[in-house]
């Protein structure tokens, strides 16, 4: 059943790369910043919309801008801000009850595959194409990085059709993954920034130092038993080893030889160069651990953590941090995961036009740039990267001027959502993550663990 199911997927269905990102970025501010002359922004004046926002620097950058929106449109905006875990739980409870409490909400393609399947999302194409609601020229949808925008499209067929069909969400920022390192310590140890995973493995035993507050450990990265491990961070390493969850023929690759090799190397890296407790690090511990100066290399972690590393009030390393693209796999390949924060509209909303005006205003060139200047990274519009103020913001980040941006653009070329869309993908990825953790904690060998996970995932797909 599973075989038959996934054979249809083919390769075109699965991945949406962020190609064209750098090229589009170079085009710059060519399109005129025309005011929204064409549409009547006050048409929904007096209505109210309610948002669900997930705590993120984006939200902090948005809050001071909300009065501007209300002044422009007469639409009153209220919102609830929650941490990721409780936020998505509350959203699920609200969406499944169909009450329409939230007119629009923060989400991601991964979440939307379930919400869209359930019919909880309003397709946005109709609003974009409606000249009474959207000034197409000023909005300039072509200004979005094509791959990132495409990750919000889906035909709602399991295991295929990503990048096609209706648009379920508009991107507001994205993160991909990179190495962050401590230049002074690497120099002291006489080590170079690793170019390949083999380099990193070879230098792992040497990655230790003494700092003012005790031992400095080699490597930190998140390692909890959840989907973000194979989907995002370790997923970046897996994909560079040539592993995608489903191959071109539609076969699961969770226990392929490449996957076994990547997992074996990853476990060895963590065992050699990470301290005790590394098997339970969450993303925030990985971020704070590196910012506190206790680690030499942050492996394949979110490039969105850079603003924290660079901020002296949150970081002990703001004047001693460098960035590099993730290492190359055994065949010289580099690929990376991507996380795309998006805004979607509730199909049970009673104020859809007002909610659309909000989404249109929020994802417009002008507002996006304002959010970036308020700390919302990374830009998803070419015009934002081309904005001198936004560019100046990240210019000083890294070991030398412009390093962060160079690395971010390099990674954006290879980053993408390389997974088959499925409403229960998180469950499958959670199971995969469990197998990786089992291997770290010495519960059976890598191959057995991964193959058992693959068998379970095949069963989930069979349902």
């Amino acid at each position: 059943m599973q075989r038959k199911h996934s054979r249809h997927t083919g390769h075109l269905a699965r991945s949406t790369r962020l190609v064209g990102f750098a090229a589009v970025a170079a085009v710059g501010l060519s399109v005129a910043n025309a005011a929204y002359a064409e549409i009547d922004w006050m048409q929904q004046s007096g209505s109210k919309i309610n948002l669900l926002l997930i705590s993120h620097p984006f939200v902090d950058s948005l809050k001071p801008l909300l009065p501007e929106f209300t002044a422009k449109t007469g639409i009153e905006v209220t919102f609830e801000e929650l941490a990721e875990q409780p936020g998505f739980e509350k959203l699920l409870a609200d969406l499944s009850s169909g009450t329409g409490t939230y007119d629009a909400f923060m989400t991601s393609p991964l979440n939307n595959w379930q919400y869209a399947t359930a019919g909880w999302l309003e397709a946005l194409d109709g609003f974009i194409d409606n000249p009474a609601l959207t000034d197409a020229e000023a909005y300039d949808i072509g200004d979005f990085a094509p791959g990132i925008l495409a990750s919000g499209r889906w035909t709602r067929e399991p295991m295929k059709g990503i990048g096609e069909g209706s648009l379920w969400g508009l991107p507001i920022n994205f993160e991909t993954y990179q190495l962050a390192y401590r230049p002074s310590i690497l120099k002291e140890l006489g080590l170079e920034v690793p170019q390949t995973y083999a380099d990193l493995l070879a230098m792992a035993p040497k990655l230790k130092a003494e700092g003012p507050n005790g031992a400095i450990y080699g490597i930190i990265t998140r390692f909890d038993k959840y989907w973000d491990l194979p989907y995002l961070t370790f997923g970046t390493m897996l994909q560079s080893y040539g592993v995608e969850m489903v191959d071109e023929e539609g076969n699961l690759q969770i226990c392929s030889p490449e996957s076994i090799a990547a997992t074996t190397d990853f476990v060895e890296l963590i065992r050699t160069a990470s301290p005790e407790g590394a098997g339970a690090f969450t993303w925030d511990q990985a971020m704070q651990g590196f910012a506190s100066g206790q680690y030499i290399i942050s492996l394949d972690e979110a490039n969105l953590f850079a603003p924290v590393y660079e901020d002296p009030s949150q970081s002990a390393i703001s004047d001693d941090v460098g960035y590099a693209p993730t290492p190359l796999g055994p065949d010289g390949k580099r690929s990376a995961g991507a996380w795309v924060w998006s805004m979607s509209m509730n199909s049970a909303s009673k104020n859809k036009d007002a909610a659309w005006l909000f989404l249109e205003w929020l994802t417009s060139k002008e507002t996006m740039i304002k959010t970036h200047l308020g700390g919302n990274m990374n830009p998803v519009r070419a015009s934002a990267w081309a904005n001198p103020d936004v560019a100046a913001l990240v210019e000083s980040w890294g070991e030398h001027p412009g390093q962060y941006r160079e690395v971010a653009e390099e990674m954006a070329k290879v980053a993408g959502v390389n997974f088959p869309p499925h409403p229960e993908l998180t469950r499958m990825l959670d199971r995969w993550a469990e197998a990786i953790q089992q291997s770290y904690f010495d519960n059976g060998n890598v191959e057995e663990n991964l193959c058992a996970a693959q068998a379970d995932v095949a069963r989930m797909l069979g349902n």
Binding site: A118, G277, G279
Partner: protein, 302 residues
């Protein structure tokens, strides 16, 4: 019609009024408490997923799947071990504290107030607080261990030590509950019995073992009843510290049900797990209640 008949009629009329007056609210309460429960059982017999519009009745299918899921048995084991450890640690510890606080002293009232403080901390906050203190590299606990020359401990971060670490946090939060109940119990021991014992030459240990402890048995059963039921359903502390990990070391039935429902939208299977948890709670509570009744009977039979 004799006076007797009128009386009977009145009684009948009043009795009927009372009958209906009591029955209707009772039925409302019964219905409102039973309805969600029955709804839950009904859901556990379906393949209901939050994101699908349709659901099918699948009988005991969810339970059958659970039996064949190794994780279910791991979680069941963790749930029972957690409850047993909670009782085994908190009752003797609570009793010890209560006995200490029963000794007349000038600082007694100070300690009586401070001992209940952990109970006032929300379990989630306690969990987060202890998670920070138990952090292997930067936590204060390992710093203390190293200060006295002991090797660092892995606490919440290793599958072999995570469960006991969570149980210790539970003990910090809830042992004061046992202390309060036992203190009340000790105060109810009639002083004349203790005095009589002393006159007969009993030493402190004999007074404790032969007078106080038997007197405290109903209180011990009561604490056990509450702590077992509570710890079988424990969620906040575990979720705040380990979310069921590392690996599945602290994944209890409640955590498993929560993840089925909220991470994976599988309401049917989540309800099946909750039902199993309810059944365990019901059986163990029933057992403890029977124990209590038995010893109450024994006490008043004398």
């Amino acid at each position: 019609m004799s006076g007797h008949d009128v009386e009977a009629y009145r009684r009948g009329w009043r009795a009927r009024l009372t009958y209906w007056g009591m029955l209707v609210p009772a039925l409302v309460i019964l219905f409102s408490s039973l309805y969600p429960f029955l709804q839950g059982i009904l859901t556990s017999l379906t393949n209901r997923k939050l994101y699908l519009q349709t659901e099918d009745f699948i009988g005991l299918g969810n339970f059958e799947t659970l039996i064949h899921t190794p994780l279910f048995w791991t979680a069941l084991g963790n749930t029972l071990i957690y409850a047993v450890l909670v009782v085994v640690i908190q009752i003797p510890l609570g009793l010890g504290f209560a006995l200490l606080l029963d000794v007349p002293s000038r600082v007694r009232s100070f300690f009586r107030t401070t001992v209940v403080l952990p109970l006032l901390v929300p379990p989630v906050v306690a969990g987060l607080m202890w998670k920070t203190m138990m952090q292997p590299q930067s936590g204060v606990l390992n710093w203390l261990l190293q200060a006295v020359g002991l090797p660092p401990f892995s606490w919440l971060t290793d599958p072999s030590t995570a469960l006991i670490s969570v149980v210790l946090i539970d003990a910090w939060v809830f042992t004061p509950f046992a202390v309060i109940i036992f203190m009340a119990g000790l105060q109810s021991v009639p002083p004349e019995i203790e005095e009589a014992g002393r006159v007969d030459g009993a030493n402190a240990w004999q007074i404790f073992r032969l007078i106080r402890l038997p007197w405290l048995v109903p209180y011990i059963v009561l604490v056990a009843l509450f702590r077992v039921a509570d710890s079988l359903k424990q969620l906040e502390i575990i979720y705040a510290t380990t979310r069921g990990g590392p690996l599945n070391a602290t994944r209890t039935l409640h955590i498993m049900a929560y993840e089925e429902a909220y991470r994976w939208s599988n309401l049917g299977r989540a309800m099946a797990i909750v039902f199993v948890l309810w059944l365990i709670c019901y059986l163990i509570s029933g057992l403890l209640l029977a124990l209590w009744q038995k010893q109450e009977k024994a006490r008043y039979a004398v």
